[in-house]
């Protein structure tokens, strides 16, 4: 954890992790059981996938009747349970557990559909890549309302400590190259912009694409700031880059696409950065759905009462309840925090010290905003104090002298407003 420097006058300098000091990739053996999370809420009545169904590695599994939602099995075996899982802010998922069989069989539906990278069509990408490592934004590419005209390939990692994308760039530049060509041909979007940190510029120049360099300090690799600093387009408050025609895709997702068309197999392993209690980093590759406990076992990490497991980076990730929480397609890091390193969150009021104002990349009047959020006046917060301008970097909570959970206030405010708006729309409709 980076602490405040003695010279507190300066802004905190949070540098992104770099791959140079990371050892090679460690493969985790296939576990006994995996769990896949689909973003689709659990709906027992319309379930298409049945318990005890046998599945093959790389097989596309459609979940519900009259729905395009699918997952891709990362192992060969038998579906042991399909249930509901509730994540952060009440988000509902369908959890599919698959018991792994002894012999692995590779599904060939994709191979016959793809038929060589030259014929890669947008349809194939939409049909097979919604559940591949790196979480390619296929929904955005297929959304007729969005009219994507620019694709930004992000080769840097967006949160601290993570080196996953950087590793992919180092180890698999050809797949990225191939993936970009496929994306170009399939989406007909010619404006493909790569963004990378300084240390990656050399490697990426080999791709022949235009590469833009981003700053090495957090939060410059967050989409909203890339939009502002590199593309020179400011995303209107409350909107996402895709609303103004820009789609972000991670280097890993591009490599997934490139590799799959090369080999005729959908990738089923996820690469991620494991950060141990002593801040040592390892790069790990595991089947999607592998429980975190298997990974901890492989690295001899023992967890104690009141430690913390974070899926994602230290600034924007989310902590989980169970050691068995599975690796997902968008799990770029697993961070383990010792209970003694967990900062205290307090209910102390804002003292108006102004540290958050100085650090906020979005120029939000946080000292006033948080006073409204604390007492639940979300509409005032949105109308007068720029709630929707927040780009969710978490720096305000990081520097807060009072230890207030400001970022969480902001997120729950957005969530509550969203819920109220949805309810209103349903009532009116």
């Amino acid at each position: 954890m980076i602490k405040r420097s003695f010279i507190g006058l300066l802004k905190p300098r949070l540098e992104y992790g770099s791959v140079a000091d990371t050892p090679s990739l460690k493969q985790i053996p296939t576990p006994k059981e995996i769990t896949l999370f689909s973003n689709c809420p659990f709906d027992k009545k319309n379930l298409l996938l049945k318990k005890k169904a046998t599945v093959k590695t790389g097989q596309k599994l459609l979940l519900y009747k009259e729905s395009d939602e699918y997952v891709v099995s990362s192992v060969t075996g038998q579906v042991s349970s399909i249930s509901s899982y509730t994540g952060d802010l009440g988000r509902s998922y369908t959890a599919i557990a698959i018991e792994v069989a002894d012999d692995e069989e590779i599904d060939d539906e994709f191979k016959s559909a793809a038929g060589g990278s030259k014929d890669a069509s947008l349809e194939t990408i939409i049909n097979f890549f919604a559940f591949t490592p790196g979480n390619p934004p296929v929904k955005l590419l297929s959304d007729k309302n969005k009219s994507i005209n620019t694709i930004v390939v992000c080769c840097a990692d967006s949160d601290l400590l993570i080196t996953t994308n950087q590793y992919i760039v180092k180890s698999d530049i050809d797949a990225i190259k191939n993936g970009i060509n496929i994306l170009k041909a399939a989406t007909k979007v010619n404006d493909i912009i790569m963004v990378a940190s300084q240390s990656q510029m050399h490697e990426l120049s080999a791709t022949g694409e235009k590469v833009n360099q981003i700053n090495n300090t957090y939060p410059s690799a967050l989409p909203h700031l890339i939009m502002k600093d590199i593309l020179g387009k400011v995303v209107p408050a409350g909107k996402n880059p895709e609303d103004i025609g820009v789609c972000f895709i991670s280097a890993e997702a591009v490599a997934s696409i490139g590799n799959a068309f090369n080999s005729g197999q959908l990738p089923v392993t996820k690469t991620f950065t494991l950060v141990n209690k002593d801040d040592s980093k390892s790069l790990v590759s595991a089947r999607i759905g592998t429980p975190a406990s298997d990974i901890f076992k492989a690295f001899n990490i023992t967890l104690n009462e009141n430690d913390r497991i974070i899926f994602g980076g230290p600034m924007t990730g989310s902590s989980v309840y169970s050691e068995d929480h599975p690796v997902q397609i968008d799990t770029d890091a697993i961070v383990v925090q010792d209970r003694n390193d967990i900062p205290v969150i307090s209910d102390y009021p804002c003292t108006n010290c102004g540290d958050c104002i100085r650090v906020c990349p979005a120029n939000i009047q946080i000292n006033l905003l948080v006073r409204f959020l604390e007492i639940g006046q979300y509409e005032e917060a949105a109308d007068q104090y720029d709630l929707y301008s927040c780009i969710e970097c978490g720096l305000c909570s990081y520097v807060c002298v009072s230890g207030m959970p400001i970022f969480q206030y902001i997120r729950s405010a957005k969530y509550e407003l969203d819920r109220a708006n949805t309810a209103e729309a349903t009532n009116n409709g």
Partner: protein, 319 residues
């Protein structure tokens, strides 16, 4: 596998830079120490008495208030101690015990706690207390009278009072070096200019006070005093006296910069600081009070919420 461990599940971010309110307040106490030390060297045990009583009574008032209102105890954050300490620094060494206790009562209870405690006070608690004490018992704050029994190796004259009643010639004898070394009459911890400046610079570097406020306040004092001086140098003293006498320096680094009652945006901070400096000199030169810093800060505290409306545009904001 049976999951025996229970983990801490909370929300992002999972890092914190480790800053705390108590650390900030201890640093303020550390920064104020040189100024207090010189006051104690000059004025001896009575100064120790005033400072100690002020700190302890402020903490006790906060303790009593928390207990009476059944709120969690907040004396550990050091804020009450800092209020007491700064109030003590402003008082003359001869301040009677009841004055100190009334002062801390006003500061902690009326200045801070009735508004909801730390962070909610619209005025700097110490400044509220000082304003009330100065108006109610103004003889005690006649430093020349109050400190008459002291015979130190410098002229026991309160420069601003001399200036007010005897004109510019009366402060000619004060050199800048004398003023910086505290060779002037005044509050216990408010005369040692060099110590206050050192403390202020320390706080600025540590990022505990906002440099914009401190510097614009001093600039406001300097420029306003200079204009007066240029208009009529026989009647109005030059900027140096105004900068290093009275409560100017303690005001710049310890009073005007109080978090809750001052603005946080860049331009508002400059207006707030410069406005306070301007008003302070205005009160000194043409008002009835000898020193205007306290009232100037009080007035600018009042304007603070309005000033903070001048804010930079948030990104992505339409119109």
């Amino acid at each position: 596998m049976v999951d025996n461990n229970r983990f801490i599940v909370s929300h992002a971010p999972f890092w914190h830079d480790g800053s705390r309110i108590s650390t900030r307040n201890y640093n303020i106490a550390f920064a104020a120490f040189p100024a207090i030390l010189l006051g104690i060297i000059y004025y001896g045990m009575p100064a120790v008495g005033v400072i100690s009583l002020s700190i302890s009574s402020a903490i006790i008032w906060e303790f009593i208030f928390c207990r009476v209102t059944k709120r969690s105890l907040t004396i550990g954050d050091g804020n009450a101690a800092i209020i007491g300490m700064i109030l003590g620094m402003l008082l003359p060494a001869t301040a009677p015990w009841w004055l100190v206790i009334i002062g801390t009562f006003v500061a902690v209870i009326i200045g801070k706690q009735v508004y909801g405690g730390i962070g909610a006070n619209p005025f700097n608690p110490v400044v509220v207390a000082m304003a009330i004490l100065m108006i109610s018992w103004k003889d005690i704050f006649d430093f020349n009278e109050a400190l008459i029994s002291y015979d130190l190796d410098f002229a026991m004259v309160y420069p601003l009072a001399a200036l007010k009643y005897f004109g510019v010639s009366a402060v000619d004898s004060f050199s800048m070096g004398d003023l910086l070394m505290g060779k002037q009459s005044g509050g216990i911890g408010s005369t040692f200019g060099l110590g206050l400046i050192a403390g202020g610079i320390y706080l600025i570097i540590r990022g505990i006070i906002r440099w914009e406020i401190a510097l614009s306040f001093l600039a406001g004092i300097f420029i306003t005093a200079l204009i007066f001086n240029m208009a009529d140098s026989a009647q109005y003293a030059g900027p140096v006296v105004h900068l290093f006498a009275g409560y100017t320096l303690i005001g710049a680094f310890f009073l005007a910069t109080e978090d809750s009652s001052s603005p946080v945006n860049f331009i508002p901070m400059l207006i707030y600081g410069a406005g306070t400096g301007f008003l302070a000199v205005l009160i000194r030169n043409i008002g009835v009070y000898v020193d205007g810093v306290i009232f100037a800060i009080l007035i600018m505290n009042l304007v603070n919420p309005l000033l903070d409306k001048i804010k930079p545009k948030a990104i992505g904001k339409v119109a």
